[in-house]
Symmetry: C2
Subunit: 226 residues, 2 copies
DNA sequence: CCCTTTCTGGAGTGGTGATTCCATTCTGTG
DNA sequence: CACAGAATGGAATCACCACTCCAGAAAGGG
């Protein structure tokens, strides 16, 4: 499930040979950098902060990474792993309305427990780095693509089982769900209140439910929990 | 329709007395700063860039603004004006499915014409500044609140006319629509492709249409344009 | 156990960018 | 038309931060 958080091409400045110890140090740097960059911002995180948080010396960072942008690229990959892991195991089995509603509750609870501060790790990085160069943008797009795939696979399973109408499009619905989540989290983050993300997710899930083949009572309201 | 782009409290360092010329200069600074900060980023915009773009001298900026954060606050207000104006006149009359679909087409076209680069001005600022202090966050929340109000008013009009079912919630739908737009634009910006924002908006609009009182054919698919 | 390669510490350093200072020129008002 | 306050230019300051250098310690393979 984990993606390598290497950078794809021409990345670490060092020969591809990493000692066991070296791997551990590199991982500690990425982890510390991710934590700092996610909770504050990329621009606001100085290499010296990373150095201190990772417990390494200044030269280590440049031993393992070409420069700050290269470190940021590694952080994006790592953040994707963190986000996807935080949604397991439910993210892996999103193939029923019940599972989708449970996932919704899970991500809402995740935000609530942080008082809506910080938003989505991947979304925050995206907001800051979307125009910071093609390599960062590509890494972010790849991260979201992994996420979207997980959502789409669940919906596709439902579709193939005949639980979704033939005119439903799992890919479109997966994109809509991911967009609703990201936009909802952003607004929730600004307002420090989960209402926006709940509204966005529930509205999208209600739409999906209206596309199921056994819609139960034909109320437009679907079968929301409370 | 315009909000003052002053900062709310303790802002410009200068006595509240602004000459006609001073007002013009201040406006030029905010406008130039907004353009730069929106198209690249806040952190990536140097005061010297603003100075050059506005055609003023370095001291002017600090004559009209306490410091960079104060300038950023003014930029947020200005960006809100720009975004809302760019959606007029359709944003002011979002009280029918046809108008909502037209608005959807308009915002999609806006992105397409920029090749999805830059995203939403207000959304980009939000992504970068959401955790950059309460004053910036408050200013962003206020900007989005203005936007949400415009959406909600249209939906409320529909509701009061009886065009939406009693169990529809205009406020919730307005939030969902704004979230879908923001999340959709973000994903579209990363992929340089309008598909995500179209998916997000269409899915939400279909949901709203399913809550109208004269739903036409009971297909779950609503009456999308093409 | 030797020798090459990797890893580590920590003191620089060079460039950048926000902010200040002050002298000078305008603006508007009594 | 004088003068108080506002606006302007631009050089100077000053902190900060990404990144470099080099010398020495650890690793690991033959």
């Amino acid at each position: 499930m984990n993606a390598r958080d290497d950078d794809s091409a021409a990345l670490s400045r060092v020969p591809a040979r990493l000692t066991r110890k070296g791997q551990a140090t590199r991982a500690r740097i990425v982890d510390a950098a991710a934590r700092l960059m996610i909770e504050t911002s990329v621009a606001g995180t100085r290499t010296d902060d990373v150095r201190a948080a990772a417990g390494v010396s200044a030269s280590q960072i440049y031993h393992y990474f070409e420069d700050k942008p290269a470190l940021v690229r590694a952080v994006i990959g790592h953040a994707t792993d963190l986000v996807l892991e935080a949604q397991q195991p439910v993210l892996g089995q999103l193939d029923s309305m019940a599972a989708l509603r449970a996932w919704r509750d899970h991500v809402v609870e995740l935000q609530r427990s942080h008082h809506c501060a910080g938003g989505c790790p991947l979304g925050s990085l995206a907001g800051e780095l979307a125009e910071a160069g093609d390599s960062a943008r590509g890494a972010l797009a790849a991260g979201f693509a992994r996420w979207e795939t997980a959502l789409r696979e669940g919906l596709t399973t439902m579709y193939e089982r005949g639980e979704l109408r033939p005119d439903a499009d799992p890919e479109e619905l997966a994109l809509a769900l991911l967009a609703a989540l990201q936009g909802g989290i952003l607004l929730s983050q600004l307002r420090r209140d989960t209402a926006p993300m709940r509204a966005a997710l529930d509205t999208t899930l209600d739409r999906i439910e209206s596309l199921t083949t056994a819609p139960g009572p034909r109320t437009g309201e679907g079968a929301r929990k409370r």
